[in-house]
Amino acid sequence: MNHLLEVSGISVTFDGFRAINNLSFSIGTAELRAIIGPNGAGKTTFMDIVTGKTKPDEGRVIWGEKSTNLLKLNEAKIARAGVGRKFQRPTVFEDQSVAENLMMALKANRAPWSVLFWRPTKADHFKVAALAEEVGLGDSLARKSGELSHGQKQWLEIGMLLAQEPRLLLVDEPAAGMTLAEREQTTALLVDLARTRAVVVVEHDMEFVRRLGCKVTVLHEGSVLAEGSLDHVTSNPKVIEVYLGR
């Protein structure tokens, strides 16, 4: 019973189309997991359900030691419970500086009144600087994040995720739009992060998944097709059929 997140039997239908069909999934407190699958397999919908953006028609999503029912919480509360999400396209607040972006993400009380009177302490400034350093933006703290390159925005968003100190990280195609060197850095970071928390990576770049060297879950038509090491699943005839057979 050391699962951090346990999703069981969820289904969701959009206008008659079954995006998720009786899907079950679970992940431990410190585990790296890759989810792969062809387009339309339900990868993003799965993340939407865990983060509260979409409510499933049936099924359960249970979180943490206290077995909280995530389906009863809204997006903000789920995020505060410790679920961090990185989107496919980098979404940072382009009108604000790198430091402001990180400061906003920093773990602290999120209620309007306390935010209104919240002023950063020395420790907060130090934390922000350290985070920026970690994602290679140490010199860009005062720059507007809209000026950053695509890859740098990806990094800033990862930095913001780290600032939230989540227990579960959902990462949607982290390698998209990154150079080869940046990809290697990202892999190393994700592997490192998974030592202390759960990380779920959605990706359809097989090469990238291979580098992560972790357990893989294959989704197809809204349910789990296969699960295991990458070599194990790629030798699965059903997976080969889905990926190559058509």
Binding site: T51, K53, N74, E75, A76, K77, A79, R80, G84, R85, F87, T91, F93, E94, D95, Q96, E100, M103, M104, A105, R110, A111, P112, V115, L116, W118, R119, P120, G146, E147, L148, S149, H150, G151, Q152, K153, M160, Q164, G177, M178, T179, E182
Partner: protein
């Protein structure tokens, strides 16, 4: 507010200085306290303009910073005016009734109340004091209602709207419907606020009969300037810290803020209610200077004008809103006051009284298209801050931070 706030926000200091100099200058040029170069009616116009600047700050907070285009903030402005107007009218009528009864036997409270009611409501054919006037005899109570009534309305309306996740243009339409409904309701005679007659004679402040309008107008100018200064400081305090970051984040990408763990609805509700209260205070200072308030003041067009002022001034920065409101409303007074010479084109004479709204609409469109930063953008021009034009989509890692169009060049 911790020390160093003004030092960190030099624009606040500049603003306060300009406002103080303006207020002193008008005082020394006024009829009551100076050379008399500025007429009492002009002092009133300027005082009213300061109140409009204050509601423009509220609009900038809700629209420019939080990204909620509210087209209903004049409802709160009007309600604030009604709340203070009720006391002004009631107290003054009470004085008149008591004076005219002078020497006779003292009236019972019921007789007094009936006499005041028939004075105030004779015009709509009623002679009983409606329940909403229950506190009209007490200045502190009505001043509290200036904040409470619009604040409560904004809270309830905002709670319903934001928790059903109504956003964008739908929310704008909803706010507009709110102000229209309120104004239609107040137009009815049995709403208890004298229907389309509204409240009048508000320029006469009970209890200070010794002072003439020339002095009172200057006092209201001071009060309006003080309210504007406090409102400006409050608004810049709100937008300067992390709270400001969060609301600008909500404006730019609401979903992302939600996934950071902030309850977007609570923030919207907070800003909406706060700005409604600011608008109400501005209204409470405005209508004693205007002398009259009627439901037409809450017509949707008023709130649309408010959006136009802020857009022309430059939304997303506080002094932009102030400059826009002051500039457009003063120019508007000038044009619609018939003081601008007509233009004779031979075949047609352009009468500015009629053509002013066309001119205003045109400048609104032009500003939106060609100078989205508004008048405040001129400040950037002076300071040499010209951000690069960025269009198109990001190109990806290899071409670095150039955007599509830049890379082509």
């Amino acid at each position: 507010m911790k020390p160093g706030f003004l030092a960190k926000n030099p624009s606040v200091l500049t603003f306060l200085l300009v406002l103080a100099i303006f207020t002193l200058a008008i005082t020394f040029l006024s009829d009551a306290y100076g050379s008399g170069l500025v007429s009492t009616s002009m002092v009133k116009t300027l005082g009213k303009t300061l109140c409009l600047c204050l509601i423009a700050i509220a609009m900038d907070l809700i629209w420019g910073y939080t990204g909620i285009l509210s087209l209903g903030h004049f409802a709160f402005f009007g309600l604030g005016g009604y709340m203070v107007g009720m006391w002004l009218m009631f107290a003054r009528t009470r004085d008149i009734v008591l004076a005219s009864a002078g020497g006779a036997l003292p009236m019972t409270p019921q007789e007094l109340s009936d006499a005041i009611a028939s004075q105030i409501f004779g015009v709509v054919g009623a002679s009983e004091l409606p329940t909403v006037w229950a506190f009209a005899g007490s200045l502190p109570a009505q001043l509290a209602l200036v904040v409470l009534v619009p604040g409560l309305l904004a809270f309830v309306f905002g709670w319903l709207a934001f928790h059903s996740r109504v956003t964008g243009v739908y929310l704008s339409i909803l706010t507009q419907a709110m102000t229209l409904a309120l104004s239609l309701y107040l137009f009815q005679n049995d709403s208890g606020l004298r229907g389309n007659n509204g409240l009048s004679g508000l320029q006469n402040i009970p209890g200070i009969e010794g002072a003439g309008q020339d002095a009172v107008s200057v006092w209201f100018l001071w009060a309006s300037a003080l309210a504007l200064a406090l409102g400006y400081m409050l608004a810049s305090f709100i937008v300067s810290g992390k709270f400001g970051s969060v609301i600008r984040g909500i404006r730019d990408d609401e979903a992302r803020v939600r996934f950071l763990g902030y309850s977007v609805e609570s923030y919207k509700l907070f800003v909406f209610t706060l700005t409604a209260v600011i608008a109400a205070i501005a209204g409470a200072l405005y209508y004693p200077q205007a002398g009259i308030i009627n439901p037409a003041e809450m017509a949707p067009i008023a709130s649309i004008y408010l959006a136009v002022w802020v857009a022309i001034g430059g939304r997303g920065r506080l002094y932009g809103a102030v400059v826009g409101a002051a500039f457009v409303s003063l120019v508007s007074t000038w044009f619609t006051g018939g003081r601008v010479p007509d233009v004779n084109l031979g075949f047609y004479t352009v009468k500015w009284v009629d053509w002013w709204s066309v001119l205003l609409g045109l400048s609104f469109v032009l500003v939106t298209l060609f100078a989205p930063k508004g008048l405040a953008g001129l400040v950037d021009l002076v300071q040499g801050l010209r951000p690069p034009r960025r269009g198109g989509t990001p190109l990806g890692p290899d071409d670095g931070s150039l955007q599509e169009q830049e890379a082509v060049e």
